[in-house]
Structures are given as C-alpha cells and as structure tokens.
Assembly symmetry: D2
Homo-oligomer: 186 residues x 4
Amino acid sequence: MNIMTMLTGSRRNGNSEYLAARALQNIDHRNVYLLDHRMEPVVDMRHAEEGFPETGDDYEALLEEFLRQDVIVFAVPLYWFGMPGQLKIFFDRWTQYMRDSRFDFNERIRGKKAYVIITGSSPDPKIASLPLIQQFNYLFEYVGMEFVDYIIANGNKPEEVLNDPFALAKMDLWNEQLKAAKREDA
Amino acid sequence: MNIMTMLTGSRRNGNSEYLAARALQNIDHRNVYLLDHRMEPVVDMRHAEEGFPETGDDYEALLEEFLRQDVIVFAVPLYWFGMPGQLKIFFDRWTQYMRDSRFDFNERIRGKKAYVIITGSSPDPKIASLPLIQQFNYLFEYVGMEFVDYIIANGNKPEEVLNDPFALAKMDLWNEQLKAAKREDA
Amino acid sequence: MNIMTMLTGSRRNGNSEYLAARALQNIDHRNVYLLDHRMEPVVDMRHAEEGFPETGDDYEALLEEFLRQDVIVFAVPLYWFGMPGQLKIFFDRWTQYMRDSRFDFNERIRGKKAYVIITGSSPDPKIASLPLIQQFNYLFEYVGMEFVDYIIANGNKPEEVLNDPFALAKMDLWNEQLKAAKREDA
Amino acid sequence: MNIMTMLTGSRRNGNSEYLAARALQNIDHRNVYLLDHRMEPVVDMRHAEEGFPETGDDYEALLEEFLRQDVIVFAVPLYWFGMPGQLKIFFDRWTQYMRDSRFDFNERIRGKKAYVIITGSSPDPKIASLPLIQQFNYLFEYVGMEFVDYIIANGNKPEEVLNDPFALAKMDLWNEQLKAAKREDA
C-alpha cells in the first residue's frame, strides 16, 4: 500500500504539514512538496486540432508518482477560501492527462483514498472552508476516488494547530486507521 | 468609471469570454487575458523576517491595473468545480500585496463592483458551481468588494452558450445596467 | 402531462406565488397551498415494531395528488435561510411513505421534473439561499427527480418581485419551455 | 450559566440525543424534546394590518425557556438533507416574536452560544449535511448568536453512533470545555 502526503502550502513546516506528519507517524510514506515542482497552468486544447502542447515542466513525473499511490493525504492551508493556486493547477492539468493514453489516468485514479487536512484561522475555518470541502467532494466523486475523511483545524501562525485538541485527536485516529490498513495489506 | 474584464480561461474565445463581451457591448472597457501574464505562485513569508521575495513577474503591473478599476467582470470557466488555477494564484498573491504599502491595497479595493460569469456544462454547472459562488462571495466580502451579481451559464464547446437564452438575457440586462451607471458617472 | 404548483409560503399572493403563476400563465395546472393542508410532523418509527402511526391528517391525500404530477413548481419564500417548516414536514413524511406499499412511492417519484422558485430580500438571497438550492438538489437526486432549474428572485414585500427583471425574464422562458412540453405531450 | 439541549428528532433515545447527553455528562442542564411541544407553523402577517394571530399553542412558553439559556446544544438528526421540520418551525416563528415587545427577543438572543450535533448515515453525512451547517451559520449570525462548534457524526440505527470514535472524542472535549465554563461562571 503506497501512501503519500501532498503538501500544498507555500511554506515549509506549516500547520497542515504538521497534522499530516502526525497522521502518518511511524507509517512508511512519501512526502511531496508541491512548490518544489514547476507546473505550468493548463492550456485548454481539447477543441483544437493540434492537441495539448508539450510543457517540459515537472508535471508528468509528479502525476506518475501520484498515480502510483493508494492513499493520498492532502495538506491544504486555506487560501482565500479555497485551495492554493498550485494545487488547483495540479488538478486543472488532469483535463489534459485524462486524454493521454500513456497514463491510463481514468483507470488508475479510481478507488484511490483521499484524506483532506484543511487549516486556517480567521475567518473561522470550520465555516469558511465548507465550499472547499464541497469542491473536493465533487472532484473526487467525478474521478472515482474515495473521500475517506477530512479535518478542518485551527491554525495559521507556526505551530498554532497544537492548540486544537480535536484535530490532534483525529490525526491519532487516522494514524490507527492507516496502520491497520497497512497491516491488512501486508 | 473604469471597467475591466478578467478573462481567466485557458483558451481564447471561450463561452465565458463571449458572455463578458456581450455584457460590455458598446461600453468602453479593457480586456485582460490572465494567461498572458506570467504569475508565480505566492510564497508565504508572512511569518519570516526577510519578508516576501521579489518575483520579477508580471503580477505587480497586473495588480496595479486591477486596482485602477471600478467594475470588474470575471469570466470564469468552471475547472474541476472551481476557478482556474491561474485566477486562484492572482488572488493568493493578494496576501503579499495587502501588506505592501506601495499599493494601498486595502483602501483601494474597497467598494469595487464584481460581476461573475461562470460557464460549464457537465456536471450541471447550476449545481456544480455553487461552492465557487460561495467562495467568491466570502472573498469579495473579506476585502470589501461588492458582489453585484453572477450568472451560471451552460456552455463548454465553442459557442455553446448561444443556446442558453437566460444567460444571454441576463447579459443584456447587465449591459443596460452598466450603460446606465456609465452615464450617471459621466 | 400534469403540472402543479406547490405554494409553500405562509401568506397568499406572495412573490414566489406571483412568479409561479407567471411561469404557468395559460398552462393548465393545479395550485396547492401547503398551509391549507394539516400535516403532522413525522414520527420516526422505522426502528419500532409497531410501525408508523395513523395520523388522520391531510397528508395522504396531498401526497397522492403530488404523485400524480409530472412537473412540480415549488414556490418557496426563503425563511431563515431555508425552506418553510411546513414544506420540510411534507418531505420529512416521505420517510414513512417510502415504506408504505399502498403508494408505490419510489417508483412513481422517479423522473418527476422539479422547478424551484426562491424569493427573499435581505440578506441578499442570491447568496443566502445557496445552501437551500444544494439541499433541494440532494433531495431530488436521492429520489430520482429531475431538478430542471431554479430561480433566486428578489422580493419580500408584496409585489416587490416585479422589480426583478431577471426573474420575470426567466419565468417567461420557463413558460415557453413548459408550453412546448405540453404540446409535445399532447 | 443556563444550558439546554434542544432534542429535535422524532424518536427518543436517538443518536444525536446520546451525543448531547455525553457532551453534558455531569453538567447541570435542561433537556427539551421538541416533539413534546405543539407548535403551529408561522403565519406571516408582517404586511397585514391585523398582525400575527394568537395560536394558543406551546410556542411562547418554549421560546421563553429558550431565551433564558446561555448555551444551547442542538441535537439534530439529518432529515432529507436538512433539519427536522419541527425545528424549522421553531425558527420560522421567530419572525413573529422578533416583533413582539413582550419578549425582548433581539436583545436577549444576542451572544447565546450554540453547539450543533448532526447525525446521519447514508448518504454520508460529512458531505450531505454541509448545507445544513451553512444554514445554521447564517441563522445564528443573523441574530447574533455564537456558533461555537459542530459535530457531524455517523449514526442512524439506535446506538450506531457508538461506533464513531471521532464523535465521542469531540463530545468529551465539549464536556471539558463546558465544565470549565461553568466553573468560571460560578
């Protein structure tokens, strides 16, 4: 069972990253910092004869890595009431690769398990991030991924999330759940 | 009264662009194609001593243009149940420039009028784009912009939106409204 | 083709009722004022041996009427950011009648077409009623009804909706659509 | 500090009731079963000269009890993607009593703390109840109540919620929080 965190914020050691690490404590997994990967925005060529352009960026390697996973934990600081632009570009590019036979995207994406960690502080993220949860749900449903669970945690300044006991408790429960899944899989 | 369209899709002559043009027919305005502007993702340095980095991209000129407007018509094709990643990066960077005294961002942004055009086809955008409408609403509210109105129109393939009579009727009504506002302003 | 309006507000001649009448102008249909029907709240006896109680109220006749329709236009003033309590009780009772073989509920409800008219004024209904639209969508989807379209109109005081040209234009478009459907059906 | 549970489901000993009891274990409070109170739907007479009618039902006593509280824990089974009709009627009637000087509604309601427990099973309540959370948020905001927190728990059949460790953990945290508040208040 392959597990990956997708760390989508724009600074290292943020609150969402802390929670992802806690959920995966003592579990073998891979961490991907989205900002380490150069990704061009999608150029929509679905209706053009010449097709999608070659970009030469890091996207294809990243996508291949993503498609090798069974479980993805998305660590998402709430930016302007939504996901960071870089993560959105990651999804936008799917439009191209769904149509690229080299990747077998539609088949491989089905059934992957998604966990979503959202962190924010003001305005209150437990309300302000609900449209984002709904967006993730539509998106996962559309490609056949399973939206296992989400947490909306309080934290903006470094390490602030340590003051959110429910978020910590939930990460510990995810940790147990994922450990059990790993054992079953072995 | 300065009016601008913000064309955020990844191809020219899309359905949302068509509707924006119709809303602004015979009204003096400026068109901005977001993809013509190179924008780096935000790097969050709010909590770092050295502050935000210089990016040298097209963002500052674009933001200055934006801040000169009174009315902005956002033309937004629905991508993966949200706004295109490039538009999200445009907003994400506000986090930096709200704190940059050269721009007087917080003062100048207040009271700007926003119109939002969303186009999509399947899944049905009149439902699938509701989280995005909610996100725009939170976002505009947060900075003190006025969310005048939105339309959710049916259209994906080139010119498909011409088959959505309600969207066309609404653009014609916006056109009257904006013409009247221009006259009053003159 | 049977068409019915479900008038769910708590006063006669409200704005949502006006719009429903406009959508159905010169189209044969039946009007149901929900408040004219005595309906007890649901008592959940799904997990009790004795089953659901007899209520002796007007619900069964109303439900039978509803199930005879092909198209239902719901006229819904926004009350406290949701549907009126009486309309909610109408839906809540479905829990009982889905399980009552006399009604053949699950079979007959499938494929019915729903139009939803929401009216409100302050806070701005184009945002404040989005959760209600989402609720209607889930609900119709669950039983297999088709959510054809909705309008969110501005109007609270008597006849205020006459000042909302978008809403009037949309009702006229629904009227054409429904007339065409009637002709095809004949 | 007065604390009340508002038990809004249509059967006794449901899952939401269990969670509310757990949150308030060993804390002095009052339980109100909404179904024990006869409440007529609102009749909207805001725009009529004769004003609102006398109903002679249990509403005024219930409202007075509600207004005496500092903290209200709403226990809400998800019915048809929303709150039970009876709870909606409780809120709908506020429209009348906001205008009734005997109650001093607008002043007394401000600052009350609301906790919301939602339980459901299928479709998955962590998504299906998001519109309801948004509705509660708008509603509390409108009258100036504080929406302290919510839990969305899995449970439909009797005692099913005992299998949701996240929900139980959160109730225990609320219990600590409320005990601390009681102590401070004493």
